[in-house]
Symmetry: C2
Subunit: 156 residues, 2 copies
């Protein structure tokens, strides 16, 4: 195992695999609930790799996935580059402080076949043993608003 790159120290609280459940809302769809697994790994370099997968809470069928890289910067700043199989790529910037990461999109891009998403805000924060994750989204012409929130516990 490589040693954690010093610039990644503020993200050390995330490292590992977490599992839990979440709920989703948006004006254009029915409310939904899901099982989620996220993983944060490092290779000794100045970034942390992030992957996420969700399954329908009832059927167990795969719902969403995403993959990206967290890039810590000076002064408690952090960047996230992220892609989703729906054809969306996001560039986000924000802060990490006291086990709390807050990010807002600088740019959201979609392929020709992707639904129009114009902005997102994302948070990851740990309280006690729980990792919380939330996404707010401006999509299909609507304003930025809450979309999903989840609670996960560390698997490894």
């Amino acid at each position: 195992m490589a040693e954690l790159h010093p610039v990644c120290a503020p993200l050390a609280f995330l490292l590992g695999t977490w599992q839990g459940t979440g709920t989703g809302v948006y004006p254009t769809i029915e409310d939904f609930s899901y099982a989620e697994e996220v993983s944060f790994t490092h290779a000794g370099k100045p970034f942390v790799a992030y992957t996420q997968r969700t399954k329908d809470a009832g059927s167990g069928l795969p719902l969403h996935a995403e993959a990206g890289y967290l890039r810590p910067q000076e002064g408690g700043r952090v960047e996230l580059v992220l892609v989703q199989p729906s054809g969306i790529a996001e560039l986000l910037e924000g802060t990490v402080e006291d086990q709390n990461i807050q990010l807002a999109s600088n740019a959201v891009l979609g392929t020709g076949s992707a639904k129009p998403v114009t902005a997102t805000e994302r948070r990851f924060w740990v309280e006690g043993e729980v990792l919380y994750s939330s996404v707010a989204m401006a999509a299909v012409g609507l304003e930025l608003q809450p979309h999903v929130v989840s609670e996960m516990y560390r698997l490894s």
Copy 2:
């Protein structure tokens, strides 16, 4: 194991894990060689997840990584959304035909701390038992030109 989504049939030749070696060139850096592992997986949904990691051929230290999703479209078209830990996100579109995927970037975006990359062309193609992968790149103000090419064999 989920059944392959029918729209992913043209990408079935990629599914699995492949390992091999590659070489890289660019006017602004010294030539380099590397060991590479790529993985193409599916979850029964209409996309294929792609991950890649490379290591320095001499030292074994991690070099590059990327992650993304291939999205087959009608008429032999395919989209790729891709992120790299260097802070780059790419949206590419192109074609898949006879085990040959050719993609060109529609958009390349970088975070505030990323090096300027303005365009890429990517190919994945299989001949016999070999998966070839190549990337051409326009970066740091230079024209689109060959950057890396690799040959890999199927592990699983």
